[in-house]
């Protein structure tokens, strides 16, 4: 049985109920079939509001460490309030990416901080496509827009999205090859290919 830890233990800047968030973590782990032998540590940076959304996932020493901005869980309609739907989707996506690293053909993927925007957006589409199949409240067009932003506004990018959204199994190596295909088809000037170097995560916390 996985151990679950949540930081902070109580939220002080946002109106998130820590017990409710712990319950959502537990529920989501069950829904995505997260391996019972792996502990889960969730760290929420409650300072960063919506729309500053970002997450990082790493697996080491039998623990999956998930970091989120508070904006990932926040309702865009109720400032500082929790959105259960957003929280489930963000947790589900991160847990699936952790699961991919554990037993899904992504063991050789670099740490989240080291993968670029295109690789990241491919992986997230793959994760959300599976969440869609599982009945999570994901929005396909929202993910598609993000995918085009980093993968390119062209037919090759759209075809790659369809493939990943279908949820058909893929490995890190195959995903990387797909990222290369997108890069080759991307006719935008280099500055439009948007390889991100910045992070919202405070350096001291990484």
């Amino acid at each position: 049985m996985s151990k679950i830890s949540l930081t902070p233990a109580e939220f002080t800047l946002v109106k998130f109920d820590a017990d409710e968030v712990r319950g959502l973590i537990e529920q989501t782990m069950a829904e995505v079939g997260f391996p019972a032998a792996v502990d889960v540590s969730v760290d929420v940076d409650e300072v960063l509001p919506h729309p500053l959304t970002a997450s990082l996932v790493n697996v080491a020493d039998g623990t999956a460490s998930l970091w989120f901005t508070g904006g990932c869980f926040e309702s865009p309609q109720r400032q500082t309030g929790l959105s259960v739907d957003h929280t489930r989707v963000e947790l589900g996506s991160a847990l699936l990416r952790a699961k991919d690293r554990i037993d899904g053909g992504f063991a050789d993927a670099p740490a989240d901080e080291e993968i670029d925007d295109r690789q990241r957006t491919l992986w997230e589409a793959y994760a959300e496509g599976r969440l869609h199949t599982l009945g999570f409240p994901v929005r396909e067009q929202r993910r598609r827009y993000t995918f085009r932003l980093y993968g390119g506004f062209n037919d090759v990018s759209d075809a790659a999205f369809e493939r990943l959204w279908s949820g058909a199994a893929i490995t890190w190596r195959e995903l990387n090859a797909l990222a290369d295909e997108l890069a080759a088809a991307d006719t935008r000037p280099e500055r439009k290919k948007s390889l991100r170097k910045e992070t919202l995560r405070p350096v001291a916390a990484s």
Partner: protein, 269 residues
């Protein structure tokens, strides 16, 4: 039909959730965010969370367009022909047509970006600036200050579309930007015509515009540095009838609004 409709009576369906400026000002995270070094605040595709930030801004544009439609619509109705010449009301009616089209375009851009109507809360301070009892104050507050802000916002979004290679966003924003330039120019022209013999009234109206401009610079939301998500669009403002001195003054107002916000953060820490 009632004249001078207050903001709380604006018609919205159940998808919309209203927020107040106080919710934003009193958010306990503001001070902590001010202490973080989050890098440039410009809306650019390579910035973290660019997609969600763009969606958020696009929904703000959408609700802003609804309120601009409501504001211009009220001005066609709230005043008799002595208070506001018929030709001015015709201009406002034509602006209503533009704003209606902008609402439709914004809904479709929301669809394109994966945003639902009402997904983000709506603040009504744009409409509140359109509630002034003097039509000249409305023209300064809405057409020159707020439609001027719209020029800055649309230009920022158009550049975001260009930088990200999104042909739909860039094209739509460019079209709406062209309309906004004419709305601002309309405000500038009517201000000069209606106050030609009344410098005191003109100064009152310009004072109101400065107040609205400062409010909408929102502690650094708009300006000319990397700290400002929305960049002041000097060229388009010039096309809309702003003099260089007026643009410089606006830049100063924006810088002051940002300095005030920083001082507030420093004072509370």
């Amino acid at each position: 039909m009632r004249k001078q409709l207050p903001p709380e009576m604006l018609a919205r369906d159940s998808r919309f959730v209203r927020t107040s400026i106080m919710d934003q000002v009193m958010d306990p995270r503001n001070q902590k965010i001010g202490e973080r070094d989050l890098g440039s605040a410009r809306l650019e595709p390579q910035r973290p969370a660019a997609a969600d930030r763009a969606r958020n801004l696009m929904h703000g544009i959408f609700t802003g367009e609804i309120q601009a439609l409501e504001g211009a619509g009220r001005t066609t109705f709230d005043f008799d022909d002595e208070q506001a010449p018929f030709a001015l009301k015709l201009d406002m009616a034509r602006q209503c047509w533009d704003e209606s089209r902008h609402v439709e375009i914004s809904v479709k851009l929301g669809d394109w970006m994966g945003t639902e109507i009402g997904e983000y809360s709506e603040a009504t301070f744009l409409y509140e600036a359109a509630c002034a009892p003097d039509p000249i104050l409305r023209l300064c507050g809405v057409n020159r200050a707020l439609e001027g802000l719209a020029i800055d916002v649309f230009n920022t979004m158009r550049e975001f579309g260009d930088l990200s290679g999104d042909p739909v966003l860039e094209f739509c924003e460019d079209w709406m930007l062209a309309d906004e330039v004419t709305h601002v120019k309309m405000g500038s022209d009517w201000l000069r015509r209606l106050t030609a013999d009344d410098p005191e009234r003109r100064e009152r109206a310009l004072d109101f515009q400065r107040t609205v401009d400062k409010l909408f610079s929102l502690g650094g939301f708009r300006g000319e540095s990397d700290d400002n998500p929305i960049q002041l669009a000097r060229n388009f403002r010039s096309m809309a009838g702003f003099s260089t001195d007026e643009i410089d003054e606006l830049a100063e107002i924006a810088a002051q609004a940002q300095a005030d916000a920083q001082a507030m953060v420093a004072g509370s820490s």
